[in-house]
Symmetry: C2
Subunit: 546 residues, 2 copies
């Protein structure tokens, strides 16, 4: 398969159409049947593949940066009497296990980004279901703030994955049913086993949709509801002038991903990659206006977008890389100066959006099923927002005893502005057993040398120059040699201590069950339900319960 490109823009969309009318945006899904990412399936009935979701993710992101004036996003279908049939089943059935799992992870991240846009940026989503809305289609609707369903005796919402395909809804549907919409669990059980779904009054009564509307009034009600949501939207100070997200300056080859501030050197033989993030080279902004003037070239934003792209590239286009070495390069003071500016101007919508983008990218890293080691060496700038990389890593090594010493440090963005999916900052998560340390470490204004960082619990190991090379080399070789599955499961269990949220439940509980089922012969075996979908033969199950 060709390398997947995660960059797109509205003028290139094949499947979506984004129109803006003042504070109301409309995102129309009208999949191009032959526009799938690879041959072998047709995107009928607005079913989607990763290509469609890349457009969706792009639209959700551009709405925040390019159209901050938008208060409501209406998601509609461009096809008659069908909203969306969910992820394309033939695509799923013909995909490898790693692809299926990473596909679901990406689509989940997109839906969480919609919810974050609503919560944090005041861009609310209204799903307008003009007909059948099934599987991933309904899961997309569940990510919206409100769901309107046409009432014509035919239109229904459904999660038919379990009864029909022997798999689970893979985009948070089960979790959102009971945890977001708080549908009673017995009703959720009934609903999730009804291939034909639920329509009309019962869909409202059970809390599956917010309102049903006769077809004749559908457009009118959508428009008036969008207006209402617009009028009740909080004023977040967006002055209506967005910034353009220009294409990334990127060179991507099989062995190297090269952007302006991020570089990834890929070593397939050793199954490792070295990801280097460079600090800013320009002067920090001294006003919110300066941030606006820099736009997508503003270091924090450019770096975050590049890192995001690099993570997606690694997940899909470099499947066998098990360990990513995180490094940084640059001037610690400059990084902290950019962080300070973002924190200082956080009331400004663009500064806020940049912080939120950093937050999402770091969450994407937390959720990436690769081991991460941070190597903190001379010339590095693991401070502030970039120190989050070290905190997100599974472990960190910091070189001790050099002259001048290597430093790490904290800044305003480490104090809660970049929370993990569990709702805690990475520092709070790290010091779950000793919460006082969070404030103690944050209170210190100086940088930490290696000995101090070790003592304060900020790094895992601090070998000196005598030990560094061997210790690090052995750790890397060893890690890259372990069972990739065991590392995925181990990291998913260790990275998220403390509270669980709907978000961590979707990734930790639902996804892992889905991963399991995606491996089971009852789904993907020769006679499995997913394999046989659309074929004349009925699936045959191994009935032993686990």
């Amino acid at each position: 398969m060709n390398a997947i490109d995660f960059e797109t823009k509205p003028s290139q969309y094949k499947h979506l159409k984004l129109t803006i009318d003042g504070p109301v945006a409309t995102l129309t899904i009208d999949t191009q049947e032959n526009g799938g990412l690879r041959p072998g399936y047709e995107l009928k009935l607005n079913s989607y593949d990763l290509g469609v979701d890349i457009e969706l993710a792009d639209a959700v992101e551009r709405l925040r940066f390019e159209h901050p004036e938008v208060r409501v996003v209406v998601i509609r279908s461009g096809k008659d009497r069908i909203f969306c049939a969910g992820a394309n089943i033939y695509m799923l059935a013909s995909s490898s296990h790693p692809y299926k799992v990473n596909f679901c992870k990406f689509t989940n991240e997109t839906r969480l980004a919609m919810e974050e846009a609503s919560r944090e940026s005041g861009q609310r989503y209204l799903a307008a279901l003009n007909g059948i809305c099934s599987g991933g289609g309904y899961e997309l609707a569940l990510a919206a703030d409100e769901i309107l369903l046409v009432d014509d005796g035919n239109a229904a919402v459904a999660l038919p994955e379990a009864p029909l395909l022997g798999v689970l809804p893979g985009t948070g549907g089960l979790t959102r049913l009971v945890d977001k919409r708080k549908v009673r669990r017995d009703r959720a059980d009934v609903f999730s086993t009804l291939v034909e779904g639920i329509k009309g009054k019962r869909a409202v009564e059970w809390g599956l949709v917010d309102r049903v509307v006769p077809r004749s009034q559908f457009d009118e009600v959508i428009a008036s509801r969008a207006r209402e949501l617009t009028e009740s939207a909080p004023d977040d100070g967006a002055d209506g002038k967005g910034i353009e997200l220009l294409p990334l300056v990127a060179k991507r080859t099989e062995k190297r991903l090269e952007y302006r501030y991020v570089t990834v050197d890929i070593d397939p033989d050793h199954r490792t990659a070295e990801l280097i993030v460079c600090g800013p080279t320009e002067a920090p902004p001294d006003s919110a206006e300066a941030i606006h003037a820099a736009g997508c070239n503003f270091w924090s934003l450019a770096m975050a977008r590049e890192l995001d792209d690099a993570l997606c590239q690694l997940r899909f286009n470099h499947e066998t890389i098990g360990l990513v070495i995180l490094k940084t390069s640059g001037d610690p003071e400059s990084v902290l100066a950019f962080d300070d500016a973002l924190a200082r101007f956080a009331e400004d919508w663009l500064a806020r959006e940049i912080i939120l983008k950093l937050r999402r990218v770091l969450k994407r890293l937390d959720m990436t099923a690769r081991s991460f080691f941070a190597l903190i060496e001379p010339g590095s700038c693991f401070v502030g927002s970039l120190f989050e990389l070290a905190l997100a890593a599974d472990r960190s090594y910091m070189l001790e005893g050099t002259d001048p010493p290597v430093h790490v440090g904290l800044g305003p963005l480490n104090a809660g502005l970049l929370p993990m999916g569990n709702g805690l900052s990475r520092l709070e998560t790290r010091f779950l057993g000793d919460p006082n340390r969070v404030q103690q470490t944050l209170a210190r204004k100086d940088l930490f040398d290696a000995e101090e960082a070790l003592e304060h619990g900020l790094v895992t190991f601090a070998p000196d120059e005598l030990d560094w090379e061997d210790e690090v080399r052995i750790a890397i070789e060893e890690r890259a040699g372990f069972s990739p599955d065991a590392m995925t499961g181990m990291e998913a269990s260790l990275r998220f201590p403390g509270p669980e949220t709907m978000e961590t439940k979707i990734f930790g509980r639902l996804s892992s069950w889905q991963n399991w089922i995606f491996q089971r012969p009852n789904a993907v075996g020769e006679k499995g339900a997913l394999t046989l979908y659309g074929k004349p033969n009925l699936p045959e199950f191994d009935w032993r319960k686990t």
Copy 2:
């Protein structure tokens, strides 16, 4: 394989020895190498199989009922310089997937029962590690309140599953590391990839054990620490006279499990079972003394023990049963009278223990990977503690319009004394979207007829006699025909809305990842790490990351 028997008693133990010395109990693990549940593996180095864990579960339970005077349970090894090597690897490698998963689930329930005994019954656990303590051995220690490790340059704690076997620690180890002992996640990462584990001072520094003790002082320190724990133990009013847990009165065949109050009729052809719980036939107790006099024949306790055994039987000895129909039979007023007595005398240690036993059994039901439908028909007694069965079921059907009407009702035990693993009562979990309903429904003293139960959200459906037979029959047939894996994953996602706890994390997050890995060729394939353990060949991995 022969049917597994979950009943045992100390005089029959093959692998454990339980001795009581006043308030201090000592549980010595000394596995009989050739005493495995089935041939094909030897229980060397105190490694365990399900048979060992059945003894452990029995001991933990008997200590609470038969020896309420015990305040501290010391877990020791009967072998020299080895505490426990964990679950037997050859047993695991030669077990079916369903067996492995159910084995881990049972052992997890036993460890949670130890923690509950500490928290709720004031019986604290002290793990005294005299040598190597590896994998499931260390996970057992993690379930204790305190861990002492001998300091002899050799004894170490370790979780070598991921690096050595390509699987995860399956008994809550990863979760307890970061969530119970709050070991820093980067240290947990290092520890969980170190085959040889960690010993001595570092084990204490990293929080893996509470104290290391020179071999020469080991016995003395254990004794003094046990004494200290005894002296600081809360007085819970146990008068020192336990009740004996007599063997269950049971007849178990392939098609039927018959106890005094519980009967299970098994229909392997339709993959269903009908589980009927009978209410009490005797008069309710009018004093705590009467409960003590009845002892293990006290209805609530007898019924709970039988239901517990039936669930274990279903899990292990009737693997293909996908749907369990829950029914009750008896006088609602009698059930409520027994519940009232337990609630009224809850200060009495035995009443408390009976409630806790009910709690554990209902949790075992929540965690059982079978679909449950409750059928509420004339002659039934779904009230109070038995209404928890209907609440625990994935859905419930209540017959409407009969004369006299069928009733359900709530009592004192529904108000928080029988919480689920998520920490909420089943009513709170059910009404997550409408919390006021919990108090409203509890406040009502009358029973609910079918129409009222439906209106109050207590049952899923209330068909009348015209519809009942067809509706119920079709629902049952359909459910029993769905992919068993999809039902397992779906139910695990829908049954536990709301907060997550260490307990739900162990079952929901860790177990599902483990289930996944237990299916992956990288672990169990011909060249998988688990398959090849102890053989000369090295495992070969599919490196694609998921």
